[in-house]
């Protein structure tokens, strides 16, 4: 099983990648780790005439600090994120989610940008980046802009990224010390997409929730933010009743499609359970 014919172009820099994108228009497609795109091309779900390979561009790789933010190059591999001291120190939830993505070989090639920008609602990074209030740093013919992860995802494989644009980095505010975090994912087997998953970030002050973020993976056309569930928690001291109310509120925003992972009812039920578990784990970590 091999992809259909296409022309391969190794981009040596961001400018060259942008020129190639401009030249080929909608016939061109960016190649990151290739572990979503190449299988889609084998199955003829995607048939770009030109592949623009970003792998040679070193400036797109790596994690660095930029004031109160982490800047993560879009071509940083999942394995590199697992090994990054900066990520461990300033954004531990990112390592929690990466550990649940695919398998070692796939993480060696797969990149955070590929996962986050492909627009697949089954991918894990979008929900986490939404919870983190991350922003995509995007270069295009008209210069550089930033686009928040919240609002970036419009539908399956449909994002705010333009056809002639390239996301070069992901800007993530450093997580405050003492923030509780959790990414809880139900999957049928290693390497599978989530049946449902929940990301929870919590900060506490005087035993009460000061801020809360709750986002969900693979229970809608995009990753979802459960704002009603978040609002239920803020200002409250958490107990089982409140956690249950928040889980029910999270379930109410789910609109999963039926597939081999289960019926809409089942997936919504799992999303509720992942939310309960993630709130409890985040709370436990926030309490230290």
């Amino acid at each position: 099983m091999i992809p259909g014919n296409f022309e391969y172009h190794a981009a040596r820099g961001v400018d060259e990648a942008l020129q190639l994108l401009a030249r080929f228009g909608d016939e061109g497609k960016l190649l990151a780790g290739g572990h979503s795109l190449l299988p889609m091309m084998k199955l003829r779900f995607a048939e770009p005439a030109h592949l623009i390979d970003l792998n040679p561009i070193e400036e797109l790789r790596g994690v660095r600090e930029d004031g109160n933010d982490l800047l993560i190059g879009t071509m940083t591999t999942e394995t590199a994120l697992q090994q990054s001291d900066l990520v461990q120190r300033h954004c531990p939830v990112l390592q929690e989610v990466v550990a649940l993505i695919a398998d070692p070989q796939v993480r060696n090639r797969g990149t955070i940008g590929g996962d986050a920008l492909h627009g697949d609602p089954g991918n894990d990074h979008p929900a986490v980046l939404m919870a983190l209030d991350a922003r995509f740093v995007i270069r295009g013919p008209n210069g550089e802009r930033e686009s928040p992860a919240n609002g970036f995802y419009l539908g399956p494989y449909l994002t705010q990224l333009g056809d002639t644009e390239l996301a070069t980095a992901i800007r993530i505010p450093k997580c405050p010390p003492g923030q509780g975090y959790a990414y809880c994912k139900m999957k049928r087997k290693t390497g599978d997409y989530a049946t449902a998953a929940a990301c929870v970030l919590l900060t506490l002050a005087d035993g009460k929730v000061q801020s809360a973020r709750i986002t969900l993976t693979n229970v809608g056309p995009t990753a979802l933010r459960a704002e009603d569930a978040e609002e239920l928690l803020v200002g409250q001291a958490l107990d089982d009743g409140l956690i249950e109310q928040a889980a029910q509120a999270a379930m109410s925003v789910c609109e999963p499609a039926e597939d081999l992972r289960g019926s809409p009812d089942y997936k919504t039920h799992i999303a509720g359970e992942m939310t309960r578990r993630a709130i409890r784990l985040a709370l436990q970590r926030a309490r230290g």
């Binding site: 091999i2 014919n5 299988p39 060696n108 290693t190």
Partner: protein
């Protein structure tokens, strides 16, 4: 469609080969270079039977274009044994019955080889997590874990200067 002239350094030997844009590394290895050790299993980056090392990193060669590997150091299962004998991971799979039909074994060996360099003294849990990208439909994995543990012990003995088992 133009061919790309690339050089692959496979098991220490340079190979110049002309590849199509759409050619996957596994096909170049098996069909052009007749290195049929790496197997084609699922072709969808799940099973790991095609696992090889590219520049010291385990990858699934069914999901990487050959042209992307221009200039790379590639290690395949053919490069594991030496004239002195089998590599410790090969010996481990033999001693612990880490295979039945053998189809997944080349990928298992190459992943175990790299994993034990990343983590020379792993726990059983770490072995299961580190080998999670390789599927076996025969063994139930317990003997594969034992094989990796055997290899870890032997490699540690060798590193201490002990006699090969």
């Amino acid at each position: 469609m133009a061919k790309h002239a690339i050089t692959l350094h496979i098991n220490g030997q340079a190979h110049d080969v002309a590849v199509d844009s759409r050619e996957l590394l596994i096909h170049t290895l098996r069909e052009k270079l007749r290195l049929t050790g790496a197997h084609i299993g699922c072709e969808t980056s799940h099973c790991g039977a095609c696992t090889v090392d590219i520049d010291g990193v385990s990858v699934k060669s069914c999901t990487i274009l050959a042209v992307q590997c221009d200039g790379a150091e590639v290690q395949t299962v053919e490069g594991l044994a030496t004239p002195e004998g089998l590599h410790a991971v090969q010996e481990g799979f033999m001693q612990e019955h880490g295979l039945q039909c053998g189809f997944c074994t080349p990928g298992m060996l190459m992943r175990a080889y790299r994993f034990l360099q990343e983590n020379p003294n792993p726990t059983e849990e770490e072995i299961r997590y580190g080998m999670a990208g390789n599927l076996c439909r025969c063994t139930g994995y317990n003997n594969i874990v034992k094989a990796v543990q055997y290899a870890a012990r032997k490699l540690q003995d060798q590193a201490k200067g002990g006699q090969p088992a």
